[in-house]
Symmetry: C2
Subunit: 423 residues, 2 copies
């Protein structure tokens, strides 16, 4: 017997037929004698509809009331799944955020889970009842409904698993695991059996959006074993504990002899900004990035060129950095407002760039990862516009047109291609 949290996303909950399939899958874990809590998202599209209502009612909506409105989506699906479970003979009940309760901070619309009371829940599980829990919601200190921000249901599931000391948190999603890279680009990409929390964080934050970044960070902190599985394999598929999904675990569970690089990620949602002739003096960089931080714009890669002496003037330098494409317009506006304080000459920008990252905990003990990357890209004539590194990741910025080529040649160069005869 194990204690399991199962999480199903909006696509899995879109309509009664699909909810029935979810119920059948939950029943199999329950039939096996497991204690099961299920965390559900709203029906696909429902949260967008409710958010749309709030925005239409007021561009500056009260986040407390927004939470009342949008939390209704998961309330609906949790009741429906409980009904569908009962219909196939599985005792089940829904537990809303305020009923458990799932205590959160007062930051409505982007609350943080602070504490989950599992007393009543454990008693219910011990009676062989399946608990159905709406994701994304909790109750704030002000005793009003709170929500965790978009994609928060993954976080709810991991937090539930931590609070319940669950043996496993199975996240059912529309992909069947985490791959070495995007299989649409590299057909020979392999599904990973295991990946570490840190690798998953790097992969998620650079574009392999299988899990919400926040949920992975929480899983790492709480040491929750998270498994990513497909919700669309048939009901006759193997049980989740033998299903070939991807398990996200601590580094200690990864084979020592595993390969250097775990995966290659790409992200086309970056935009490059260059400020020319920025005075090369103390405080210049702060003058650029301070206003952007104040505007809540996340700057990623930064390159400060070597200062060059303009004839007859003080020394100046070009500063290049990237921001999310969606924040480009606001970034330009913010920087132009600060133009006098920064003292730059021109601002140029380019959205036709992509960030390619190689990720792997093996990098810690092996040199030469970055060199292989630069050499491989150079051989194909791909120009590197910027570089950043972390302990387990090397990222480069390249022209967007080369994205697929870069991913493919790196996947081969690091020995990630599946054997042609492999399943």
């Amino acid at each position: 017997m194990a204690r399991i949290v199962m999480k199903f996303g909006g696509t899995s909950m879109a309509g009664i037929e699909r909810i029935r399939s979810v119920a059948a899958r939950v029943k199999r874990e329950w039939d096996a004698g497991n204690e099961v809590a299920v965390v559900v998202s709203a029906m696909a599209g429902d949260t967008d509809r409710l958010v749309g209502f709030c925005r239409e009612a007021s561009s500056l909506y009260d986040p407390k009331e927004y939470d009342v409105v949008v939390s209704a989506g998961e309330q609906i699906t949790s009741g429906l799944l409980a009904i569908a479970l009962q219909a196939i003979g599985v005792p089940a009940r829904s537990w809303l955020g305020w009923q458990l309760p799932i205590r959160t901070s007062d930051a409505h619309a982007s609350a943080r889970i602070e504490d989950i009371d599992t007393g009543a829940l454990s008693a219910s599980l011990a009676k062989r009842e399946v608990a159905v829990i709406p994701g994304f919601q909790g109750v704030a200190q002000d005793e009003r409904i709170s929500t965790l921000g978009r994609g928060g249901s993954d976080t709810s599931a991991v937090a539930m698993a931590a609070a319940m000391k669950a043996d496993r948190c199975d996240i059912y999603t529309d992909v069947d695991g985490v791959y070495t890279t995007d299989p649409r680009i590299v057909p020979r990409a392999r599904k990973l059996k295991k990946v570490t929390y840190e690798e998953m964080l790097e992969l998620a934050s650079v574009g392999a959006k299988v899990l919400q970044t926040r949920s992975v960070g929480l899983a790492m902190k709480e040491n929750v074993r998270v498994q990513v599985l497909s919700s669309f394999t048939g009901e006759d598929a193997p049980m989740a504990d033998t299903l070939p999904g991807t398990m996200i675990v601590g580094e200690e569970e990864i084979d020592v002899e595993r390969q250097l690089i775990t995966g290659i990620a790409h992200d086309k949602n970056e935009a490059k900004i260059t400020l020319t002739a920025v005075p090369d003096k103390p405080g210049a960089v702060a003058a650029i990035f301070g206003p952007l931080a104040d505007a809540n714009i996340n700057v990623d890669m930064i390159i400060q060129n070597i200062a060059h002496q303009s004839s007859g003037s003080a020394s100046a330098t070009d500063v290049t950095f990237t921001v999310p494409s969606s924040d480009l317009a606001r970034s330009i506006e913010t920087l132009n407002q600060a133009k006098a304080a920064i003292g730059f000459q021109d601002l140029t920008h380019d959205t036709r760039v992509a960030k390619i990252s190689v990720v792997g905990v093996g990098m810690r003990s092996h040199a030469g990862v970055a060199a292989t990357m630069f050499k491989t890209l150079g051989e194909r004539g791909i120009n590197i516009l910027a570089i950043t590194t972390s302990e387990i990741k090397v990222s480069v910025l390249i022209e967007e047109d080369y994205t697929e080529l870069a991913v493919r040649v790196l996947h081969t160069a690091y020995g990630l291609d599946a054997e042609p005869d492999a399943a």
Copy 2:
């Protein structure tokens, strides 16, 4: 300054534009210095959608989970109205059933309000905040969401008004008041300025569906002054306290010199059943109506003909009664199953009948009301199939084809027609 409950139905809440109109109307009462609580229905169609999901998930759905699902509709509109009010400068907040709380019985899906805690609400109203309260919902003794049954938002509004000791409960609906009869049948029908609770109960239960019957009963018990108003008059209409809606009040507020009859109601949703040759012996009637009561079928008018002696057999009688048309099929099935026990010969039925009722508290002190009715209908050749009376009502069953004619001639006979030159 007054304390007012305003209630808006699903048509008034159907979409953000209409919710904005509701907000504007609430603002006018608030601007006048009143303390205002607003009770809202779900968007028109939303409750049907949610009920449909539950039925699709299981024909025998758990009413506790049904309540979780269907209560979401009013949760959504209450948050949206609070946002719309804030957007026009009116401080407002939503109070869900479990937050006030509105305590109900444990009869999920058809709960009864038992107690409303108005402590926090009163403090909020005193701070000049408008309270927005989802109708139809509460929290049961088991600490789970409960709902009051369909149409329960009127009851929520009246219960809130009673608990808050409100000066008035204004029910905004898609008619602009209670009329002497259906204006689509009698263009010279008059809107009533005042009607007593008891008259309203009789009018509602015989087909003039302006308010949910249960809410009128509660208003009578708690002595809540209920006003029925149109939600579709413009924003420049007079304030609600001078608006020409219909006020539903106790009998003591009605002019002594008012006329005999308040209104004429009609109801085409009855079906007539006749059982022939029922043995005329003790227990025969119980054998008929016992099984129907067990099947939760509401029998209305009953006529037992005079027993007639069949040649060579025990005396027998025909029994005729009416049931709601929607229960006709179940009634026939129930009676046929009990045929041996009842001992009737044939069962005939007819849905082409209508019940016409004249209602008025003046009847208590005046004789001759029924006689006028029979004489008026007889003069037009309208055959009376059955009769029932109460202290303030006389009802007859007639052939459905004569419905409009009967309503029209009775409206004239009791002097209810508006003066041709009246507004």
